[in-house]
Symmetry: C2
Subunit: 117 residues, 2 copies
């Protein structure tokens, strides 16, 4: 039920194939946490870390923070702040997009990005 740990471990060990610096201990140290803690997190014995720590881990591994945060069940604070600025507007939009299939949302994202607005 906690995908964060297993996903992160898998990714870390992949990178480790080609670079010894991606041992659990070294990654933990660079991210500023205790190795024993990361060990428990990777095995799902502990819940996913804080946003701050997840981002540090993501950067070290070269992973997408948004994806890793999502696996940890968290929405990054900056996205939350964007929503909080216009709560009703975003609430309505997100709830409606939730019923649409991926390709529709993707198309929408592209159109917004391409400045059709």
């Amino acid at each position: 039920m906690n995908e964060f740990g297993s996903y992160f471990r898998k990714r870390r060990e992949e990178r480790r194939q080609s670079d010894r610096r991606f041992s659990l201990r070294q990654v933990a140290t660079r991210a500023g946490i205790e190795p024993s803690y990361l060990s428990k997190v990777e095995r799902g014995e502990e819940a996913p870390p804080s946003e701050r720590t997840i981002c540090a881990l993501a950067e070290d591994l070269g992973e997408d923070p948004d994806l890793l945060l999502a696996l940890g069940g968290k929405v990054s604070r900056d996205l939350q702040l964007a929503i909080l600025r216009r709560p009703q507007l975003f609430a309505q939009l997100i709830r409606e997009l939730n019923d649409l299939p991926d390709h529709a949302v993707l198309r929408l994202v592209r159109e917004v990005r391409d400045g059709a607005w």
Copy 2:
């Protein structure tokens, strides 16, 4: 710096003009919290309550939960879950919409609602 309390108090006292049942005590009791706690929340001496309690208060007062949650600095869990299902897509969309003015976002919301997708 905490708008939740003052806004809620204002709203509650407005409703109280025409209905004595909207005293602090009665609202608190119906929402399932202690009056002294609501008193502190309204005066900003305590941080805004949990999502659960905010929603109970919103329903009692007939306020929009999303707005009240936003004033409390929170994004409702169901919105978060919608985002977590497609984290990268939503992250990109929200960040881009954040730079656009209200009317542009509003227009987008309307088009999605009207099923142009």
